[in-house]
């Protein structure tokens, strides 16, 4: 087919389209959905009994703040990248907050080691962490893939991965509020693993959702 003929075909039955909201608006919309899901999960599971003491100690508060910041920035980066004309360096936006999250937990591990020796950084299994973040995070990642489905022909992979990271981080806050994990090493290992698995799964499944939905 000649290109000029294709243009004639494209324009022949042109339907009006509603312009998409800005990336910031889409981010707020998705964050609203994510917070609703996480708050509902926390309401059903109940806050951990020693939450006040944990917050006073500071580590969990910093952990939640840095995870939340990473989540918000990852969501904004994902929606920015879903538009064709946005700079691909938006993908780097959540990295400083992610480094802060890792640094905070790494520092916590060192403090635990100084206080309790090798016992302070001993790892045991905690599959509920994985189940919580994956169980709530993956559907939220796919919700973002649906909201950013216009990215399907542009850069579905990076958008899906950032969506997975955002969902895992926001879900991580809910996990910290409900689940009993004290040692920073355990939080780093299990929350970190859960975030990696969720981000990876979102990176695999998100582009498929976008292609189906678009």
């Amino acid at each position: 087919m000649k290109t000029e003929d294709m243009i004639a075909q494209l324009t022949e039955h042109l339907a009006p389209v509603r312009r998409l909201p800005s990336p910031a608006t889409l981010t707020l919309l998705w964050l609203g959905i994510a917070l609703l899901v996480v708050v509902s999960a926390v309401a059903v599971m109940g806050l951990r009994p020693d939450l006040d003491a944990r917050m006073a100690a500071g580590l969990d508060l910093r952990q939640m703040a840095t995870a939340g910041l990473t989540g918000v920035l990852a969501a904004l980066a994902a929606f920015q990248l879903s538009f064709p004309d946005r700079d691909r360096r938006w993908a780097l936006l959540p990295l400083p907050a992610l480094v802060l999250w890792l640094g905070n937990l790494g520092w916590g591990c060192l403090q635990d080691f100084a206080a309790h020796g090798p016992d302070g950084v001993r790892l045991t299994t905690s599959f509920p962490c994985l189940a919580f973040v994956l169980g709530f995070g993956l559907p939220l990642s796919l919700a973002m893939a649906w909201l950013a489905r216009h990215a399907a022909p542009i850069r579905p992979g990076p958008v899906a991965v950032l969506g997975g990271l955002a969902a895992a981080c926001i879900t991580n806050i809910g996990l910290t509020l409900t689940h009993h994990l004290d040692a920073a090493a355990m939080v780093l290992a299990w929350h970190g693993l859960a975030m990696l698995v969720t981000t990876g799964a979102a990176g695999l499944l998100g582009p498929k959702v976008m292609r189906i939905a678009v």
Partner: protein, 189 residues
């Protein structure tokens, strides 16, 4: 809003932006004019990445289809040229990658030898054809059908799938196996 000779890039961008905003509202004439005016830009972007003229035109058409699908993502408050250029760059890159994957498997038709060497005596040529027919006859029905549709009639996979009732995956496998069988039987000499 007519194209003006010598207008500056920013003026042109503002005009295209206004045409795209009108197209988003369903103005087919504005859309037609915009796409036709943008063709030289699309072609220059795709040509810079793809030397082959056919690949360039294919990438331009891919870019037009993508632009059409994602036309709701354009924000008239932002410049238009980076938006359309990013789409064209992406499609040209995809075409370039696809070309790279194909290059290893293809022989340029200009440099490929004849399927049946014309210097071969007519009696032997007849023998080669008969051998090819016999080899095709011995293929399983699904493989012969897949080969017929995909390679001889040169249908797209989707068309061949619709015609044969086989899934796209099954067609790919059947074609691959048919070629492997023929290669083994005829190509070993």
């Amino acid at each position: 809003m007519t194209a003006e000779a010598g207008e500056s890039r920013s003026d042109r961008d503002m005009r295209w932006s206004a045409l795209m905003a009108a197209a988003q509202n369903g103005d087919a004439r504005a859309y037609d004019r915009l796409l036709r005016e943008c063709l030289p830009l699309l072609r220059s972007i795709c040509r810079a990445r793809l030397r082959d003229a056919t690949d360039t035109e294919d990438a331009v058409q891919d870019a037009l289809l993508t632009l059409h699908r994602v036309r709701a993502t354009y924000d008239p408050a932002r410049p238009f040229t980076p938006w359309i250029s990013a789409i064209a760059e992406r499609r040209a890159l995809d075409r370039g990658r696809a070309r790279g994957r194909r290059t290893g498997r293809e022989i340029d038709i200009e440099h490929a030898g004849p399927i049946i060497d014309p210097s071969t005596p007519p009696a032997e040529r007849g023998l080669e054809r008969a051998e090819l027919r016999a080899a095709l006859r011995d293929l399983p029905a699904s493989q012969a059908k897949a080969l017929q549709l995909a390679k001889i009639e040169e249908l797209s996979l989707a068309e061949a799938s619709a015609r044969s009732g086989l899934s796209v995956g099954a067609l790919k496998v059947a074609t691959h196996r048919a070629l492997a069988t023929l290669r083994k039987r005829l190509g070993a000499r």
